[in-house]
């Protein structure tokens, strides 16, 4: 008897470093950031790209932290292109000048996704915890000049949802072909800062209406992606298209995860590219097998007709909120733990479900101490 064949992954998220000039309170990096001296070498990343391509990966996000903080980013891009993998650099724009961008494009970089925190310079820099807006504006213009595709990524929360019209207009003015409006996912840093970040239902409804109006107006000329706020929809997200199904994440220190939030599932022993090949990790590691398919599902997922659509929701959110990664995602109204979410979002809760309070909750900025 051989184990059933595991379908190969399509995409790789390469967290090249956790170093970053920004301090966003909703950062998707783990709360325990990887320090510089634990980062993989250039050679390691080149091998990761070769192994990823051989395994079936066709597309990668070169992300961080800020990937430009890696002095060898050009070499990593070249190794990625050499392996035949389509690459997108996910950047804050800080540290990008014309010469460096030229070298990256020459090395084979296919496209760029730029983050922005707000359409207003001062509000942007306050959320980022650094004076970075001007650098972003410059970076956008430089990328447009090269002719490769520019996308914008905006994490949405209480402090910028009301500026959605201006943010979309900014993305259009900067020449973006795609604007990803991603409601914050309350894990890691964002969970730590949830009280300050969680919007009101009214804010969300207004923003969603605005996105609908822009979509009509743009008629597909600029793609708008609205990443649903699962705290408010009552329906869990099909996180990562299923655990170990479509993509994998390699952390700065070589840890391999089914999703960038999976660090919180501390009871799983996540493999590392220093000790095993990506193929072995993808096909045979217990961590990747843990929540694949639906055999692991408890009720109510086990008998739910939606289980093939949402895969039980997010394992990391289940773990963070209930202590058990195998439970139904509490974002689902059918989850026995849904009250954990509802208590935060019900209009009458007195919590952040209401209009923003005058004095915001304190924020823990994301800082990597070396």
């Amino acid at each position: 008897m051989t184990a059933p064949e595991v379908a190969p992954p399509w995409a790789l998220l390469a967290e090249l470093t956790h170093r970053c000039p920004l301090h966003c309170a909703y950062c998707s990096n783990p709360v325990e950031l990887v320090k510089r001296d634990a980062e993989l070498s250039t050679e390691d990343w080149a091998r990761v790209m070769r192994e990823a391509a051989a395994l079936g990966v066709v597309s990668t996000h070169l992300s961080g932290g800020e990937p430009l903080r890696r002095a060898d980013l050009e070499q990593i891009v070249a190794a990625t292109a050499g392996a035949g993998i389509h690459s997108q650099m996910v950047t804050s724009g800080v540290g990008l000048d014309e010469r460096r961008l030229g070298r990256l494009v020459d090395a084979g970089l296919n496209c760029v996704q730029l983050s922005v925190q707000h359409a207003d310079l001062r509000a942007n820099d306050e959320i980022a915890g650094a004076r970075v807006f001007a650098a972003k504006e410059r970076a956008a213009a430089l990328v447009r000049k090269t002719g490769i595709v520019l996308g914008l990524n905006v994490v949405l929360h209480r402090q910028n949802l009301d500026a959605i019209d201006d943010i979309i207009a900014l993305g259009i003015a900067w020449g973006c072909s795609r604007i990803e409006l991603a409601n914050a996912q309350y894990q890691g840093w964002a969970l730590l800062n949830r009280a300050a970040l969680l919007p009101s239902r009214e804010q969300l409804a207004r923003a969603e209406d605005a996105v609908g109006r822009w979509r009509e107006r743009l008629a597909g000329s600029v793609e708008l992606i609205w990443v649903l706020p699962d705290y408010f929809t009552g329906v869990p997200k099909p996180c990562m298209g299923g655990w170990g199904a479509l993509s994998l994440t390699v952390a700065p220190d070589g840890t391999v995860l089914p999703c960038p939030g999976a660090y919180v599932i501390t009871e799983l022993d996540f493999p590392n590219v220093r000790n095993a090949s990506l193929a072995e990790i993808w096909r045979r590691s217990p961590a990747f097998a843990a929540y694949r398919g639906d055999a692991w599902m408890p009720d109510p997922c086990r008998s739910c007709p939606r289980r093939a659509e949402d895969f039980g929701g997010c394992r990391c959110q289940a773990r963070a909120l209930t202590g058990d990664a195998a439970r139904t995602d509490p974002a689902c109204t059918l989850s026995p733990d849904h009250h954990l979410i509802e208590a935060r979002t019900a209009p009458s809760s007195g919590g952040p479900g209401r209009e923003p309070a005058a004095s915001p909750a304190p924020v823990v900025p994301r800082i990597l101490r070396s």
């Binding site: 190969p8 399509w10 051989a54 395994l55 079936g56 066709v58 597309s59 035949g84 389509h86 997108q88 296919n110 496209c111 996704q113 002719g147 490769i148 595709v149 996308g151 072909s177 795609r178 597909g220």
Partner: protein, 88 residues
């Protein structure tokens, strides 16, 4: 319709046409997605080099695939792919 005849289709910026040896399919890889192509779609797109006009692509495919409805289907296909933003 001389304008349409002048069009020399090319893959749009940041779009890559490639064979996927792992899955044994042809793919169009673009930012944030990959599209699995049918063999005939890949055969058409491989000719979109930015130098060959749409009419010449149809001629060439008509010769290579004399039994296929190239003259009717290929212009419609090219137009649809351009509307998706994958050709320019």
């Amino acid at each position: 319709m001389s304008g349409a005849a002048e069009w020399r289709p090319a893959l749009a910026a940041s779009v890559v046409l490639r064979h996927d040896a792992v899955r044994d399919v042809d793919l169009l890889v673009l930012p944030e997605r990959a599209v699995v192509l049918t063999p005939s779609a890949a055969a058409v797109l491989r000719l979109c080099d930015g130098e060959t006009g749409a009419a010449a692509i149809v001629d060439r495919l008509s010769r290579d695939f004399p039994d296929a409805p190239v003259a009717t289907d290929v212009p419609v296909f090219l137009d649809r792919v351009r509307q998706e933003g994958w050709l320019r």
